[in-house]
Symmetry: C2
Subunit: 199 residues, 2 copies
DNA sequence: ACCTGAACACCGTTCAAGT
DNA sequence: ACCTGAACACCGTTCAAGT
């Protein structure tokens, strides 16, 4: 079966299988990926440029699922929230995949669209021109850090070894997904509040 | 020379060499590391528990250089700034090393000290108890994202393909280290301003 | 205690060969 | 056009052997 009647592989199929593999907790490796696809390793190389190509394929599968709907919103603040929210969900839904996208730069057009929308919103907010790009970068960085936070273990700190003050706070603190979600919301609130104070 | 008169390796020596290797732009690999140390690969395994052990060794070399001096400061805001600044510098000075520390959790006691100091400062600021931990996590996440931002290429976006609005802003925007530094400062400002608004 | 050399399983990549 | 099998360089790890 050197040439099947219908192609059994494609960039998308490979990208999706890689996402599944990685999200199931394993490393991104070509051999297990091929096995999962029931295909010989070298077959992958016809559709995708090596391991790095697999990473780009993952990105190209994920991005269209989350980015692109230029949400209907009233007011700059709501626009920023919606914009950030959609990128954030992509990160938070696939934190393990994120780790690999870290090195590979996100697709130009997508970043461009995000930056453009954000620049519009911040201009409308009345932020001075020379602060706009930096502010976008701040939000971007926070989003990124918040996404990677998902990767950290359920309990980051051991209450046993904490001081009494910290231990008390930790007892009433959520963990896992809820902790992460709350952190993201609060961060965005703080940033928006800070931006408002500058306009 | 199976047993030299004076040991030529140690955890620290290995950790430092690994930092140099990684910071020079290459991947963290055991074989080049051994070569750089003028030693056989298997020798590393006596001092360090494999590749992961090398990562921990890097961390144990870096952390004491940056963390630990509990800075003299007046006022909660200044305390937070100093605290965050020192962690941040470790990240920003060694962004490539950071990539590897991402997976490995930072040493318990260090995180604990950071969280404790931050909790004190935020309590002094008058922030409600149920917001303190979340706020610390926000700052932590931002710090992290800002550090990883250092890894992104000099010019993230191509002004050619940007809209006129964005292109104009980009012309007046710094790049490289300065861009990164400014972004970090602005982000911390925004967050602190947001925190102030909540007290 | 501290380092070496050989050996092994495994991974990423290439390429000629098949249909 | 699309997949396979073999071959290769290289990496991480182990372990017996040396002093």
């Amino acid at each position: 079966m050197a040439r099947p009647s219908a192609a059994i592989l494609s960039r998308e199929i490979i990208g999706q299988a890689a996402i599944d593999l990685v999200e199931s907790g394993r490393d991104l490796q070509v051999v297990p990926l091929a096995k999962r696809l029931g295909v010989s390793v070298s077959s992958l190389y016809y559709h995708v440029d090596g391991r790095d190509g697999v990473i780009r394929a993952m990105r190209d599968v994920l991005v269209p699922q989350y980015i692109g709907v230029p949400a209907e919103a009233d007011g700059w603040e709501e626009r920023i929230r919606l914009e950030v929210e959609s990128s954030w969900r992509m990160y938070a839904d696939h934190p393990r995949v994120m780790q690999y996208l870290l090195t590979s730069v996100i697709n130009e057009p997508d970043v461009m669209r995000f930056y453009d929308a954000m620049a519009d919103a911040l201009t409308e907010a009345g932020l001075p021109d020379d602060e706009i790009l930096t502010t976008i970068e701040v939000i971007d960085a926070f989003m990124f850090g918040a996404a990677l936070d998902t990767l950290s273990p359920e309990r980051i700190l051991d209450p046993e070894s904490a001081g009494p003050r910290l231990a008390g706070l930790m007892a009433a603190h959520p963990s896992g997904t809820e902790r992460n979600r709350r952190m993201f919301d609060r961060g965005l609130d703080l940033l928006l509040s800070g931006i408002r104070a500058r306009t």
